[in-house]
């Protein structure tokens, strides 16, 4: 530990020596190769949204400097021209936290890419290469994105990068998701390795698996796309990490890493409730804004600026907090105030950097942005046979009509009936047609899943309920996962608003299918064998045996009886003899 600290100190000294030379270099260069940015935003309920963003630029040839070679190689081998990979965990509570992060994916892993190929078969092959390579790079089960989990969306996604018309003709968009994938440290480590500063300096030094995956909600994303300005193109990878940290929980974790129940005297109980007396404790909701600092909620401060991001000379850390709340920062950093109330800080070259917000009581009101749409989705239906899905979409705006695309990618064992697709508006507005356009690709057993895409519109201040019924298929014995009784995850529905490019995801669903008893095959074999043997035996005996009267038993049978008796007598004698010996 001591050695590590010394090493870091040494690294920081080195970077300070460099500052003079790099500053002069930066003026000559065009767009910088690498930039990073962290924004901290307080959310209601004593939560902080930390958004990390790392942008790396690279060339299209084989010689890479800051651009990760592994990613470039994967793109080259799979002929992918644009790639979006998202890892997410938890649920964004848009009622409490407001507008969700538009870049985040659905729970688990979501991947979509534009792949260059001559035809669909070629695209599938490249897609398989891509998923397998990414699976190895990010230690995720992306290789399980097979034909049944892959769809080709028609309306939902548009490329973010610059592709010429001619290129677009040969590009195929493929999309796959793994809602069940548990996102964890093994995905974060390769993610950090792609960064030039690798978590040793700059804002990436805050990223630590223990804190990231302890968050209420978190999302990692990697977007690779070609970016052109003035005819000069470069390959850009944008890595982002967004997380919502519960301050109370983080502070508790700091005090005791292992969660332990608090002693009664330290509990914040709401005593104003008449029923909250004696041995019961109702948590107090208005605690005021708790004090926090970067080193408290992330476990460490920022270790100076990443030297490679320094040439941009921009503020790397910004805080979006109410103007009345005071912010203290470490020495040697410059504060920049923007008219919208955002306060940004230029990181010191070598020293550690920390942001400290003191206690604020009572809590300051936070202005929340209304999301363009509230979406939730759930199962209806009953029994092991009849299923139903219901998506409730609410337009909170009082004036604007929202046009959006609703995309569902269902597993093949969920077979929707399109004729049961119903939309209900509340309050009802007669003459208003919510479904503008519909694309549906039915299931092929074990080959592809259902793909439903609907262009919908909701009038202001209304709720649209979309529902349909589906059949649950019966799976083969080997198609069940080891924990078959847990159920099967159904990927989140993607809701995109084409006008703004904004996207939100519903939660994923857990579908329970009839689960067999897994010793069944052997039972079946034994039972059917017994039945066959019984039938065969009786028929065979009827044909082969000779039937005689009961009093006509042949002497041979008599001999058998005699033999039996003699054998019995011999056994009896012997056991008696042994008993005697024992005595």
């Amino acid at each position: 530990m001591k050695l590590l600290r010394r090493l870091i100190a040494v690294v920081l000294v080195a970077s300070s020596l460099l500052s003079a030379t790099t500053a002069t270099d930066s003026t000559a260069k065009g767009p910088t190769d690498y930039d990073e940015h962290l924004s901290l935003k307080t959310l209601p309920g004593n939560a902080v949204l930390a958004s990390f963003s790392f942008v790396t630029n690279g060339t299209f040839d084989n010689h890479h400097s800051v651009f990760p070679r592994s990613l470039a190689q994967i793109l080259e081998h799979s002929h992918a021209r644009e790639l979006h990979l998202k890892f997410s965990l938890g649920r964004w509570d848009s009622e409490l936290w407001g507008t969700p992060i538009g870049k985040a994916g659905g729970t688990g892993v979501e991947l979509w890419a534009w792949v260059e190929a001559d035809d669909d078969a070629g695209a599938d092959k490249q897609w398989r290469t891509l998923t397998n390579a990414l699976s190895g790079l990010f230690c995720a089960s992306l290789n399980f994105i097979d034909g049944t989990r892959t769809i080709r969306p028609v309306m939902s996604f548009a490329p973010e990068g610059h592709h010429s018309e001619k290129e677009m003709e040969r590009l195929h968009l493929l999309h796959g998701s793994l809602p069940r994938e548990p996102v964890c440290t093994e995905n974060l480590t390769p993610f950090l390795k792609l960064l030039p500063c690798k978590g040793r300096a700059g804002i990436s030094s805050l990223l630590d698996g223990h804190k990231l995956f302890d968050a209420q909600w978190q999302s990692m994303s990697v977007v690779i796309k070609p970016v052109c300005d003035n005819g000069r193109c470069r390959l850009q990878v944008e890595q982002t990490v967004d997380m919502v940290l519960d301050i109370e929980r983080s502070l508790q974790r700091r005090d005791s890493p292992v969660p332990k129940p608090l002693p009664v005297e330290r509990l914040n109980c709401d005593t104003s409730k008449f029923y909250g007396t004696g041995d019961s404790c109702f948590p107090q909701t208005n605690l005021g804004d708790l004090p926090w600092s970067l080193s408290e909620i992330f476990g460490r401060p920022i270790k100076g600026v990443c030297p490679l991001a320094r040439p941009s000379r921009e503020a790397h850390v910004c805080a979006i907090v109410p103007a009345e709340r005071s912010i203290f920062v470490s020495q040697n950093s410059v504060e920049i105030k923007y008219p919208d109330g955002t306060r940004c800080f230029v990181l010191p070259d070598t020293a550690d950097f920390d942001v400290i917000l003191p206690q604020q009581s009572p809590a300051l009101p936070l202005r929340l942005e209304l999301p363009p749409l509230y979406a939730s989705r759930s199962f209806t239906g009953h029994g092991q046979e009849r299923g139903g899905v219901q998506a409730v979409l609410r337009n909170p705006s009082l004036t604007e009509t929202v046009d959006f695309v609703y995309l569902e990618s269902l597993p093949w064992f969920m077979k929707p009936y399109l004729h049961t697709l119903r939309t209900t508006l509340s309050p009802a507005s007669p003459g208003f047609e919510p479904i503008q356009d519909l694309f549906y690709r039915p299931v092929l057993d074990r080959a592809r899943g259902a793909h439903l895409e609907a262009a919908l519109r909701i009038p202001p201040n209304s709720t649209l309920t979309l529902s349909y019924d589906f059949d649950k298929s019966v799976l083969r014995y080997t198609e069940y996962p080891p924990d078959a009784n847990r159920g099967f995850d159904v990927a989140a529905a993607v809701i995109t608003i084409p006008k703004t490019g904004f996207a939100i995801r519903t939660t994923s669903l857990l579908l329970s299918l009839p689960t067999p008893d897994f010793s069944m095959p052997y039972n079946v074999i034994i039972l059917s064998s017994t039945v066959i043997a019984l039938a065969f035996g009786s028929v065979f005996n009827l044909l082969v045996r000779r039937f005689v009267g009961a009093d006509e038993v042949s002497p041979r049978t008599q001999r058998l009886e005699e033999f039996k008796e003699r054998l019995l007598a011999a056994i009896l004698r012997r056991t008696r003899g042994e008993k005697k010996k024992m005595e």
Partner: protein, 567 residues
Amino acid sequence: MSKTKSPPPDTPENARTRSLVVLSFWSVVLLLGLPLWWFTTSIYRAPLPLKEMQSWSNGRACRAEFPLLVDVEAPLLPDPEHLLKTVQHALDDANDFSAHHLRLRLARSHYQSGGHGTSQKSTSSPSETQDQTEEESVAAILRLTPGASGSTHSYQLSNSSRIIDLYYSPSYNPSSSASSTSLALFISKTLMEIFVEEQQMISHLLSSGTPTPPPSSVPPGPSNSSNGSNKINTAEIQRKMSRIMRYSPTYHLTFSMFTGAATPASWEIEQSIEEYLQPLLDALSGISNFTVDSQIQFYASPSPNVVPFWEADTPENLGDPNQLSTGKWVLKKEDLSSFINSAEWPLVSITSYPTINFIIYIPSPSQTPLSISGSATNAFLLPQWGGVMVLNPPNQINHLTKADLKGAMDIFAAQLLSLLGAPSHPPSLPIRLDSLARQRSAELLTSASSTLGSLYRLTKALPSISIPTSVSTSVAATLQSLHNACRELKRGHFGGPNSALEEGRNAAAEAEKAFFEKSMVGQVYFPEEHKVAVYLPLMGPVGVPLLMSAVKEVARVVAEWKARRRA
């Protein structure tokens, strides 16, 4: 026991019907059931030429030969045929590995007119190309010219051509037998010296590739080379062989710069490769192709257990790195094998062919200058993996120029050659590359043969493994290519289209394809208990009555037959 009535006697028709019933059940079982069961459960095994595969793996199918043709140009020498004969005798006597032998040929006069090119093709006029392609390629050209007056015999070999310039002493007198013998001896010694390393490598390859070494390689026959030096050489050859990457038609070269801090942030690697390395890669293209990429990684540290120590120039500053004293950080030689931090350094490529890594490591400023103890070049080679060079750029420059990288590139070029297995000895690159082609052919031949041997053993050891048709076609293709390769070797056609190298490459690829056939692997772990569990519940209850009735009937027939005989 009460007295019983005896049953009515069994009528012969009844007995016959019973026999017929039992017989018909059995015939259904035997004629329909068994073939059906056999047909539905049998595993397809395509026929393989097992005997031939075995003979290849034993090294009995082909005795690889490497006849090397040396053209001798002696424009000013009287009676060169006689001299050649003497030299050839001397060479044959000294050769203890008969598969690899040198053959001298007097160059025809028209070669002498333009015999300054690097290869035979360039020296020939267009009209002769036709008959030359049918001829064997020439391994080297020996040019005999009289040296300066008063000098002894000497030879010279340039870096970029396969012409050996041999200057014989002007006092050479062809009529004197002593003088003639001394020149002949000198020539044979020169040629042996040039090709000895290749010969040893090929002999090592051929003997290690086959389980039973051909008797020609060991023990070494009576020769003028001493046995002691031979033994040292085997260790040396073994060391060299252990470095060599497995042959592949394509290699991926990754040039990485790992810096301990965030500088230098750029390097002129593209230009450096283009200028210093590309000529070599082009020359090697006849043997393997190369794809190249490069990367820079910042904040890279070697494996945590590799800790360099401080060595001060002046003894009084010993052990005090913080003081601004002159000295250096030193890496111990034992640490080099674990220097590569494979957990942290992104060096893996997704290419299907092997990657050779070349790393320039720039230590962090706190550990500059860093050197490797006992190394003049500050570089080291990791066998079958790549090369590493520790570079200490002058005072924190942010950009490495082509000139800064020249030294590293030169070292990497040498490391690349030794990783590919080119012999280190003769300075002439064309001769070394030819050697490499021959050596690679030998390696491919042995590897394809041993893969066939493994496949042979696998099919023998696992009778329940299925063998699809694709395997048998691949094996046939392998055998065909092996035959061709063996033939081309005997002809002395080592490089170029349809050569031994290419045929060997095909053979190795096909053999690998046959051995790693996907559908074969799945069947290996099918448990036998599974079958018992499936069959027994049916076979038991059905089989027992069938068997008992058959036994009864047979006993009845036998009893009847006995009764009839007694009667």
